[in-house]
């Protein structure tokens, strides 16, 4: 269906805007259980802002939601080309959801390039809302259309609404004293108003937000408000939309919620760990996509006593963090893959000095500069092995945007307790994506008790007392930590191999071997201090941990491990880590709904693995590991447990969508998966085998 707008209708829209958007037409919205909308436009069109505000309003209205900003690396690629298309996808729902969805049912396309690059994502029968004004010859050509798709049969399978957003926006801004060129910039608010009407979103929260966001810029407030109201009124009066929809609120556990991105949650987790350990936070960082928002967030939290340094390079950033750790602060450095590579030598120094340090890697598409704004989980092996010498360190990874909070807290806890650099592997998908977060009670967060050495710990034969920096806690193997300023405990530490206990330089071969083992045992021993693996079964969860339980949301039932494994339990286990959680759990539910039983385990601790992982894996005949890389966890599991696993791979710098995983799981249950070492979800790519 295509509809056209007459000037008369446009005039009516303007009329309605004047009456302050009050409804003249009663129309009962049809209830939807979920909705996936994709906003797409030129990088300068404000699509991220539009999508974010639509999300906030939906959050207020009690929907569960998940978002996925998808934008180009170039700040402003040539306007009007497909390279410059910036998109924001959001799924809102009346039940708990774990992904931003696939197959958006609505695409808002602000120009031909947005339509060109995004149309393939919209299933037939979907709704397209396009800014008709931009479909002129020049823009069509820039977008690579030879003919105007609004005028031929290209879009026959879709419901298309052609709305002259630019001209209508200009029109309503005319008497607001805004110059036409500036008025044009408000067209995204017209789109937002229209969508808000169509999906029965509250208008007040957006109007308030405009006032706050642009405080002091009257002209912009006026223009955006007018455009937003006009878009809303247009929906109401234009008589082109047969129905409007509502997504009722979801049944989330009771409490106070906020909508949070992974990078913000991660920053807050660090602040919380600082408060709970009573140690000041120091962030050394160098700007890099997609990690910079953590630097921004913490730099704006100076009233928490956090000190931030935008260093001259990645190496200086981690060195400064290590220096701060030596002084008794929580040293943190945040970066992405290329930065982790540069920080490798200092990370090695930290493993040798045995000082706490948190290294946050917000992974992105690689190698090299790769796809800086796109997601990938390809740094797991880098985190494991990316240093010279035997230099193991703990690795943790959040599974959802809000889980970044707890995992950051956990990374600090491990780093401080075990005096070790600790790598936290987030990714661009978690960093920029958002979801509702049930606010924790600050008082419920555990204390992190760290004691600095204040007394001598060694007595020489002649009775002289001394402080030896490499005397350890027999339980944790963490060394005694005396900070500068402590009277009498002066000592030197360095990157040269140290004599056990005294910390003096030592070239003794057996001492080196002993120290290598002690450092490895210390990291391996952390397994005793972390929760067992979380397994989700059709009946409920086994070994739910504080890191996963929040995610289980409606599925909080505990299942006895003995009972589950003594019964006729599923023979197939899906094992995941990191941000694949959303897509995997959604796919697992879909599979179960078809009456097929599979189990699902997810790792938040990658090094060391939970102590019971090997035993749990041995319970299954088939283990499937989907990753946004070429099988890095699968490689580790095969090497450590000497079992075969099915490695599922996707390296399109895009997250999995549930349907492609569902297909894989169904094929696996039916015994139809190929025997390849790595199985690609992309059917056009032949599967690879190294054997």
């Amino acid at each position: 269906m295509t509809d056209t707008i007459t000037n008369e209708k446009a005039a009516k829209a303007k009329e309605a805007e004047k009456t302050n958007g009050t409804s003249s037409k009663e129309q009962k919205p049809e209830e939807l259980s979920r909705l996936v909308i994709r906003f797409a436009g030129d990088s300068g069109d404000g699509m991220q802002l539009t999508g974010t505000q639509f999300t906030s309003t939906s959050a207020f209205m009690g929907n569960d939601l998940a978002t996925f900003p998808d934008f180009p690396a170039e700040i402003r690629a040539p306007a009007g080309t497909v390279h410059g298309v910036s998109a924001f996808q959001v799924q809102i729902s009346d039940h708990d959801i774990t992904t931003p969805g696939e197959d958006p049912s609505v695409l808002v396309a602000m120009n031909p390039a947005a339509l060109q690059s995004e149309l393939h994502r919209i299933p037939k029968g979907g709704t397209l809302i396009v800014n008709e004004d931009t479909f002129d010859e020049r823009n069509l050509e820039k977008a690579g259309f030879t003919k105007n798709p609004l005028e031929d049969s290209t879009l026959d399978d879709f419901t298309v609404f052609k709305v002259p957003m630019t001209s209508l926006t200009k029109e309503v801004c005319k008497d607001k004293g805004v110059k036409p060129r500036d008025a044009e910039r408000s067209k995204n608010f017209f789109a937002l108003g229209l969508i808000s009407w169509l999906y029965s979103r509250s208008i007040d929260s957006t109007l308030e937000w405009i006032e706050k966001q642009f405080a002091g810029k009257e002209m912009i407030i006026n223009a955006n408000t007018a455009a937003f109201k006009a878009g809303h009124a247009f929906g109401e009066t234009a008589e082109m939309f047969d129905a409007r929809y509502d997504v009722p609120s979801a049944k989330l556990p009771p409490g106070t919620y906020t909508n949070i991105t992974g990078n913000t949650a991660l920053s807050w987790g660090l602040l919380a760990a600082s408060e709970k350990s009573k140690l000041p936070l120091f962030l050394g960082s160098y700007p890099i996509t997609p990690a910079s928002d953590i630097l921004h967030e913490l730099s704006s939290k100076k009233h928490f006593g956090v000190k931030t340094l935008q260093a001259e390079d990645e190496i200086a950033a981690i060195c400064a963090a290590l220096g701060a750790s030596y002084g008794g602060h929580i040293g943190v450095t945040t970066t992405s893959g290329p930065g982790v590579a540069l920080k490798a030598e200092t990370t090695g120094l930290a493993t040798s000095l045995e000082l706490p340090l948190v290294i946050v890697d917000v992974q992105r598409g690689g190698p090299s500069t790769g796809l800086p704004t796109k997601t990938e989980a390809t740094d797991l092996l880098l985190a494991y092995f990316g240093r010279h010498g035997e230099s193991p360190l703990p690795i943790v990874a959040p599974y959802s945007p809000s889980d970044c909070f707890l995992i950051a807290f956990e990374a600090v806890r491990i780093a401080l307790k075990y005096r070790t650099p600790t790598i936290l592997l987030s990714d661009a998908y978690l960093a920029n994506g958002s979801e509702p977060w049930l606010l924790p009670e600050a008082s419920d967060l555990p204390d992190i008790n760290i004691e600095f050495a204040t007394d001598y710990n060694h007595e020489h034969e002649d009775g002289r007392k001394d402080f030896w920096p490499y005397i350890r806690d027999p339980e944790t193997l963490a060394r005694d930590w005396a900070v500068p300023g402590t009277h009498g405990l002066m000592h030197r530490i360095g990157g040269l191999e140290k004599e056990d206990k005294s910390g003096n330089i030592s070239y003794d071969p057996h001492n080196h071997e002993a120290m290598t083992h002690i450092r490895a045992d210390k990291i391996e021993g952390i397994a005793k201090d972390i929760p067992g693996i979380w397994v989700n079964t059709a009946e409920g969860d086994i070994g739910g941990t504080q890191f996963i339980s929040n995610a289980a949301k409606s599925q909080e039932r505990e299942v006895s491990k003995e009972k589950h494994y003594n019964s006729d339990h599923p023979r197939l286990l899906v094992l995941g880590w990191g941000s694949t959680w959303g897509a995997i759990s959604s796919a697992v539910r879909k599979v179960r709904r078809e009456g097929v039983a599979i189990d699902y385990a997810h790792l938040t601790h990658l090094c060391p693995f939970p102590a019971d992982l090997g035993e749990i894996l041995s319970r299954y005949d088939e283990i499937i590991i989907p990753e946004v890389n070429m099988g890095q966890l699968a490689f580790l599991i095969r090497a450590k447990y000497l079992i075969n696993v099915r490695s599922i791979s996707k390296v399109q710098a895009q997250p999995y969508v549930a349907s492609e995983l569902k297909q894989i799981f169904m094929d696996a249950v039916a015994g139809k998966l190929p025997d390849d070492e790595i199985i690609n979800v992309n059917p056009n790519l032949s599967n690879r085998s190294f054997s």
Partner: protein
């Protein structure tokens, strides 16, 4: 925050440390709270530089200088990178980190920001600080972080056995440059001035008293300090500074910079530095040029003359200035950071987690 308040914060931190100190029993190890001696600053490690190396006299000068300063071993940290000079921290009875190649200024920057109550010294050679760590050096200096950087310049790589360094003269024949090096050498003083260092001085390993005095001046300077020390590597580059440092040459070849005085040198001050009417500096006979002689002022904010002075010798074979080239007041970096923290706390109130969690739009689910 006023400077007084900054001082109070620093004192408060030191007070906590003092309180901590009282809990710890005094012992034979480390100084008690009285005045320190050289022994209190000397660790039990055997010093392992080559016999005759210039590093020994620098170590002694430091161990003699520190008891004269208003500091204590537990408040003092030596941080180094990699190289012969970088072993220095092991020999000091203070806190210390022997770090990785080139990164000492960056490690020290983090520590200085975290702990403004500490006295931090950074030790490194010409390869460490000007080659692999050049970036960190200039950024530490431009930020004016309160760290005292001592660059032991011996114009060679010692620890890796004798390759040419970024301060080696053009044409240097070494194992890695059998036909002579092609690279124009860095002038460390010029680099520090170019990086806007607030304290820049040069001393040398043949004059312990001058080193002690220079270390004291660097220590007492309120901000970051950079000191180049001409240091003889008697194994791989022996005598490279003989042109200016040999006992019988010092008087005629070293230009002692003294604040507020005309720049003269020689046994009887018979030579001096003057400015031509083109604005260039030149070495002249003092006699007859009295009114042209340059008056040295380390406190000039504009570094142009200090830079010209740093360039007056093309190498250690022409009359070479020693002493303080520049000493100006600039806000110290951790002071600036502390002021921002105080401002944020004053304007927003001390950060509380509950408030943080509720700082964005929230909604209730019943």
């Amino acid at each position: 925050m006023s400077e007084n308040e900054t001082q109070e914060t620093i004192e408060a931190t030191s007070k906590e440390v003092e309180e901590l100190a009282e809990k710890i029993p005094a012992s034979s190890n480390g100084a008690t709270n009285g005045k320190t001696t050289k022994e209190d600053w000397t660790s039990d490690q055997i010093v392992r530089w080559c016999p005759g190396c210039g590093d020994y006299s620098i170590l002694t000068a430091m161990q003699l200088a520190l008891p004269e300063l208003n500091t204590r071993p537990e408040k003092t940290v030596f941080i180094s990178g990699i190289g012969c000079a970088a072993r220095f921290p092991y020999y000091m009875e203070t806190y210390g980190i022997h770090g990785i190649h080139g990164r000492a200024p960056a490690i020290a920057t983090g520590l200085a920001i975290a702990r403004p109550d500490l006295d931090i010294w950074v030790i490194g050679g010409d390869g460490d600080m000007l080659s692999i760590g050049g970036n960190h050096l200039i950024h530490a200096l431009r930020r004016n972080v309160k760290i005292k950087i001592l660059l032991f310049n011996n114009q060679i790589y010692g620890l890796t056995k004798g390759q040419y360094s970024p301060t080696s003269e053009v044409g240097k024949i070494t194992k890695s440059t059998p036909l002579g090096s092609l690279d124009e050498p860095f002038n460390p003083i010029s680099i520090a001035l170019g990086a806007q260092a607030s304290f820049v001085a040069r001393t040398h390993d043949m004059n312990r008293a001058h080193m002690q005095k220079t270390f004291k001046q660097a220590f007492e300077h309120e901000g970051g300090a950079f000191v180049e020390i001409y240091q003889n590597c008697n194994v791989f580059n022996d005598g490279i500074f003989d042109g200016v440092l040999k006992k019988d040459r010092r008087e005629e070849m070293l230009i002692q910079l003294e604040d507020g005085k005309p720049i003269t040198f020689g046994a009887n001050g018979e030579r001096g530095v003057a400015m031509t009417n083109q604005g260039k500096l030149e070495v002249v006979d003092a006699a007859g040029n009295e009114d042209r002689l340059l008056i040295h002022e380390a406190g000039r904010h504009n570094p142009t003359l200090a830079f010209a002075l740093s360039q007056i010798a093309r190498g250690p074979f022409e009359p070479t200035p020693v002493g303080i080239f520049r000493q100006v007041r600039r806000e110290e970096y951790s002071d600036g950071i502390q002021k921002q923290l105080d401002y944020a706390q004053k304007s927003k109130g001390e950060g509380k987690l509950e408030e943080l969690f509720n700082s964005r739009s929230t909604w209730e689910v019943k």
